[in-house]
Symmetry: C2
Subunit: 340 residues, 2 copies
């Protein structure tokens, strides 16, 4: 057990070249000591998420930007090592937002819930049984409102969120069509996650070519589009919307943080198709976490949902793991394991 | 009573310069004779609507384009002059889609309803008590879902639809803010329609300047945006959306029919504000026409809704009346009267 704490802090905000490992630096600090009402957590698992790009950007966002010199914000799972807090006894496991560091002191406000290590592997609380599952399930249900027999298209279909969306769509009796970024991910979509069809958008030079391919992938049009990318990928989807289609805007991976991105205006497509585009932010839906975890855990135990993890070892690997996610070279949910 | 029919037909589709009077030509034809199951209508009032730009464009739209050489599509009010149809006796008045012509034969399929000339002036069935009122009321209620105390912004606020939207918003207990295109229309918004605030977007050189002005017009942000323009006017609205805002996309007056318009992508605004943009097409809501007319007629008779008409005389004036509407030099609902 190290006597010092180690953490990764935000060294500089991304410039025009986007996020790079140089945005971060490793720091050492004394291992923190919990005060009255506080607890000490040994962080065991870190999560890498697309939202991190927004968290470290300068521009306005739905949460406060990470401060320069501050510990990088992250969803985490850890074990309570010392506690002056009645709700969190020593030895229990917690999912929360302890950041990219080995040790964290908490007053409980950055803990989301106590997790049960017997239910599923601890790391699952950072994807299927955590924010990832909540984002996938509630975003699909509330914004997408899928009905049996409808076609659900998913961009970043093999990503941590997308893989759950596609599988839930299938469980609900929909046709699932995946847009993803490599041949390996196309294979995951079909073989691992059970999509009816999937295509690699990197095979197409532009929106028009991708749109032409989508005409074959989605012969009956698209009723629900779970959109994690925006940008040219989503432009290709618009012509295939059916009347009354619903677009869940969940992420914007394919457009830069700044300057404000320019592209085809959506208004006329929305009008002609009487379609809707609705922003979904998981932070608004924490109250549905327990119920969603129960639903997804049930499907997991019944063998109806499969997951894939892309695990890096050690705190130092976190920036590279994030890069892998942002560049799309990951396969499955990107996690960092910090063994003892 | 003329022995011949006269009609205005589509001579050519709009080119890059947009709609011009040269898109239309006047034609004479024998006065039609109703066959079995048909009726003959003397058209008395024609309506000019923003949707006409779409009806005569080549591009895909939500209704079939008007054929070249075909009578210009239009909402109309007329009187039954001869009838072999049991539902429409001679002398009754009907609102329908008889087009820009003096005489029309109908089998009933292009008649929307029988109207009561005692309820309000006949022409009102082409705005407050017709598609205009239905578009305003249902678009606001179903897509905008306004709640008392919220701010409702309306683009083309003094137009036929916008004027009703603003007044309904006020009746529902909202704050109403109008975006409109002339000083005279600003005056109409405030003095005639009761908006809390209004501004003339032509006073501003670009979206940024308009957006800065909106910060003063809507100090509490915007909860509902009833959007008839899209384009640079709507771009100025986006930064003022409150969390959970609803945008009703009802028209796209400020963007060209072709080529596909380019502008700021809406995705990130929708995501950060958890806002929605939904296309509304009045054709989907015909089943609510009677109930809506009843609601709006009640408010009109109670003096709670005011209207303004911009009337041209004679069939020949219809293309110029449409130009007036599309150029925004009208004051109130643009109508063409065809007296006997």
């Amino acid at each position: 057990m190290p006597a010092m704490n180690r953490c990764i802090v935000l060294d500089r905000r991304p410039g025009p070249e986007g996020v790079t490992p140089a945005c971060f630096r490793l720091e050492e600090a004394p291992k923190p000591v919990p005060g009255p009402g506080e607890l000490l957590i040994r962080v065991l698992w870190l999560s890498c998420d697309p939202a991190m790009r927004g968290w470290i950007a300068e521009g306005p966002n739905y949460s406060e930007p990470v401060q320069l010199g501050g510990v990088m914000r992250s969803f985490t799972v850890g074990r309570v090592e010392a506690s002056n807090h009645p709700d969190y006894p020593v030895g229990c496991h917690v999912a929360g937002r302890q950041g990219w560091q080995l040790w964290a002191v908490s007053d409980g406000s950055d803990i989301d819930r106590i997790v049960d290590p017997a239910l599923a592997p601890l790391s699952f609380n950072l994807h299927l049984l955590g924010m990832t599952g909540l984002t996938a399930y509630q975003g699909l249900m509330q914004m997408g409102k899928p009905k049996p027999g409808e076609t659900v298209a998913v961009s970043t279909a093999a990503g941590a969120v997308g893989a759950v969306v596609g599988q839930v769509a299938k469980i609900l009796g929909c046709r699932a069509a995946g847009l993803t970024g490599s041949a390996g991910k196309v294979a995951d979509c079909i073989e691992l996650y059970g999509y009816d069809a999937a295509l690699n958008y990197r095979d197409y030079p532009d929106s028009e070519a991708l749109s032409a391919a989508l005409a074959e992938t989605c012969p009956d049009g698209i009723d629900v589009y779970y959109d994690m990318t925006a940008g040219w990928i989503s432009d290709a989807v618009m012509p295939h919307l059916n009347v009354g289609a619903r677009i869940a805007v969940v992420g914007t991976m394919a457009i830069p943080s700044s300057p404000p991105p320019i592209g085809p205006r959506a208004h006329r497509d929305l009008l002609v198709k009487r379609a809707s585009m609705s922003g979904f932010l998981v932070l608004d839906h924490f109250d549905k976490l327990e119920a969603t975890v129960e639903t997804l855990a049930g499907w997991y135990r019944a063998g109806r949902i499969r997951t894939r993890e892309d695990v890096s070892e050690g705190l130092e690997s976190a920036p590279a793991a994030l890069m892998k996610l942002l560049q799309g070279t990951n396969r499955g949910k990107v996690l960092v394991h910090m063994p003892e």
